[in-house]
Amino acid sequence: MKQFNALVFFIMVICCHSVSYSQKITTGIYSGVNFSDIHGQEIGGKWSFKPGPVQGFNLGYSFSKTLGIQTGINFSTIYYEHKLSSFPRAYYPVSYSSIAPYYYPENEMMDFRVLRIPLLFTVSVPSELQFRMRAGIFFSFLQDYSLNNYNYYSSRGQDKPEKHDFGYIFSSGISYPFNEYFKVTFDIGYLTGRKKFLDNYKYRHGSSEFTLGIAYTGFLKNKNANITSKTKSDSSYKKVTVTFRGGMNYSWNKGSNGEDNYCGYTGPALGFSLRVPLGGNTSFQTGLSFERKGYSIKDSSTSFYKLIQNDNQIYYVDAKVQTDYAIIPALLSFQLGESDRVFFNTGPWLGLKLNARSVGTAYIDYHSDASYQLKKTIIYEDLEKAIKDYDLGWIFGFGVSIPVIEEYKVDLTLQYSTGFRDVFDISGTGEIYNQYDKSLSIRNRTISLILGFKIPSADR
């Protein structure tokens, strides 16, 4: 409680000092929904993205028109539910058939109500639809919890969750002023806790938040009038453009050799990019996008994410192995010709793993001398632990920019990205070597078709 009081006091101090020059205070309230996204889990089963409520207020403090800090108070309730695999785990070599397949007896459910104090660094991009990114840390304080159906192992009933946590927040959003003092905001945030919240397990909190809010910008308006005119001449962001992008990825696994029947997978891509002119026909392009990469299996196997074939329990597997990444590119973009319509870009990208899973169906038929059974398995296996935390690669893109209304443009981009790393982490699978298993390697390759809606600079 002392820490909480200290933070509230700290926020009040910031408010009191906000009367100096070139500062701008923004406050707002927001409400929305979070989708739980636990970390540190073992392979197997389905951790549902359960929705829960989020409310809070924030207090921002801008050093300039683009840079600032933000804090506030956030109340969230996070619901975790592990829907358990009722089928035998097929990741161990089936030649170990003397080990009876294990079945989990019931679903695991937990929920936590927390109060969070974030401390964020903010970057705003002035445009018609003001765009902002935030990153920082948070401290959280557990208010209440429930571990329903949680103690299916006897030791678990003794566990008590950690009362305090800290972690990282990444967020981006847009705001739109609807009068002189108020603007409506929409933010998407990703939160990941850093502390284990149960002693005997590696679980860490995590969630994605989607919030709508109203921000008040009327504090110290007179003094800030002067600031506004000054920042209008800030040429470094004068022509920064924001492009909201969405499209489809066709990805495949280059790590497997041609003998393996790994197929491609089509997944979504959604995000934004920032383009900063560097002079001439060259610009720097970065941003953040959510992309789902992976591959698919349509073959006989004893595993639901890779091909293992032996004489024992064989499924016909039709599954997709998906990894969700937060992709941050750093591209140089070259406009071809004077028309500014055709461009080529290239550069590295960093992908931070968010989730991984195998989904699909598998069929198996059992023939014995006395019986025949055909079983259909609905696959949903959490694979987050089997995929490394990040990937690095290179992007080549080619596109056209088509004006639609005034200076609003639509970009159509065809992009190829290659990953440098083998992102399969066998140590996370609990597997041991077996003679049937040509060890899997996963190297991401993706072709993307992206449609972008380019928002022009506010100072055009």
Partner: protein, 428 residues
């Protein structure tokens, strides 16, 4: 501007929703199949198993739903079926007749099942055994695998077998064994028969049991060692004397079918009982249960004279003409025609492993069958000239019933420790 915001919001929310079904397993089809009679039954090769063999297919998810198509075929053995294709009736039954062939001992009738769309469901086998003539028929995991003794009465055509501590009498066919139950017939070790066709069986409790009416009834003999409750070694000599020994106690013999017992001296008793033979001159030849302990007595066992043997003998056999044969370990046969004064080499084999030897000499008709454990079976008409009858280095014991059917047991010290018994019926 509102539309793009709305569009992006909706897309984000849509992508964040759970789109995939929860993990689960659904049973789509479930059938049970069986031949409900004759499985693992025994027949003679070439005979009819039945003209109406019943096969059943049950759809466990929807028992009254669809019939199943059944294709019958002989998968092994070379026999024939009367119906090769059938549709199951409302109770799930399909029928065929099956006559065995003689191409193999284990014979298989196979029923392949298909749903009405033609999708293959299963293949079920009905396995039976067709016993052949002049072939070694191999049975795995059969009751006889635990055989520990056999005694045959060739006059009355009776054979008893001790197996798993129980007594079995051979049935109408040589491969059929029926358990004999009696208050004394438990924990049996082995069984013998004397020249008067009296059966004797020993138990693991030190009891000796006797039947004088071809096994119809059994009586307890006077216990040769009242103080012990464990094994007895026994040998019955051609004069119907019963010779017994046990650990650390004197050898005893009974002249009156186990009613009274006489002790031998301590010198001979130290070797225990292996085999005892009465020679035509009235003397006794005894080989102990240990190495090289061959003795002869000319005074009804009061005194014994040690006979020097070639090598390390563990077995003695005396022929109808009083020739004494000894076995030098692991398997070299010597013959003496002068009551053990001299021995002459007659045959040697090289077993793959060493073993103690139970009864290894059998006479059927005019031929002897001699087992060399770990090597195979020899056949001889005169015990001087030997033919290799069957080389099998996994043979451990040999038994012969009153029909002359040979039963050989299998032994291995290597995994998977198969349990096998071999049958062989020779033509007349």
């Amino acid at each position: 501007m509102k539309r793009p915001v709305l569009l992006i919001t909706v897309m984000c929310l849509t992508l964040s929703c759970d789109r995939y079904a929860d993990p689960e397993v659904k049973l789509l089809e479930d059938y049970s199949f069986n031949f409900d009679t004759f499985q693992e039954k025994r027949f003679f090769a070439g005979e009819w198993v039945s003209d109406s063999i019943r096969f059943r297919a049950i759809n466990n998810k929807a028992p009254l739903k669809d019939p199943v198509k059944v294709l019958f075929e002989v998968a092994k053995g070379g026999g024939l079926v009367t119906v090769s294709s059938a549709i199951t009736d409302k109770d799930g039954y399909a029928f065929t007749g099956w006559k065995l062939g003689s191409e193999s001992f284990g014979q298989i009738l196979r029923a392949k099942t298909y749903d009405l769309k033609g999708n293959f469901l299963n293949s079920s086998d009905l396995v039976v055994y067709g016993f052949r003539t002049n072939e070694w028929d191999t049975l795995q995991n059969a009751m006889e695998n635990n055989i520990s003794g056999m005694a045959a009465d060739t006059i009355n055509k009776i054979t008893y077998m001790v197996c798993g501590g129980k007594l079995y009498r051979q049935g109408e066919r040589y491969y059929i064994w029926n358990e004999v139950k009696d208050q004394y017939l438990s924990s049996l070790r082995t069984i013998y028969i004397d020249r008067n066709r009296v059966f004797y069986a020993t138990t693991s409790n030190g009891d000796l049991i006797r039947s004088t009416d071809h096994g119809e009834s059994w009586q307890l003999c006077i216990r040769p060692y009242s103080q012990i409750y464990y094994y007895l070694n026994i040998s019955i000599s051609s004069d119907n004397y019963i010779w017994v020994s046990t650990y650390n106690l004197p050898i005893k013999y009974s002249k009156d079918s186990g009613q009274t017992w006489t002790e031998l001296g301590s010198e001979i008793s130290a070797h225990g009982i292996g085999d005892v033979f009465r020679l035509k001159d009235g003397s006794l030849v005894l080989h102990g249960s240990d190495c090289c302990s061959l003795f002869r007595s000319v005074d009804e066992g009061l005194t014994w004279t040690k006979i020097e043997t070639p090598g390390h003998t563990d077995k003695v056999f005396v022929s109808d003409t009083d020739e004494i044969y000894v076995n030098d370990q692991p398997f070299t046969l010597y013959k003496s025609t002068d009551y053990g004064a001299t021995f002459k080499y007659v045959f040697a084999a090289s077993p793959e492993w060493g073993s103690s030897k139970d009864n290894i000499f059998y006479k059927v008709g005019s031929f002897y069958y001699i087992l060399a454990p770990g090597w195979g079976i020899l056949k001889s008409a005169d015990l001087t000239h030997y033919d290799i009858y069957w080389m099998n280095s996994n043979l451990r014991n040999l038994y012969i019933d009153h029909n002359g059917v040979l039963l050989a047991t299998y032994y291995t010290w290597m995994p998977p420790y198969l349990k096998i018994i071999y049958y062989r019926k020779n033509s007349e």
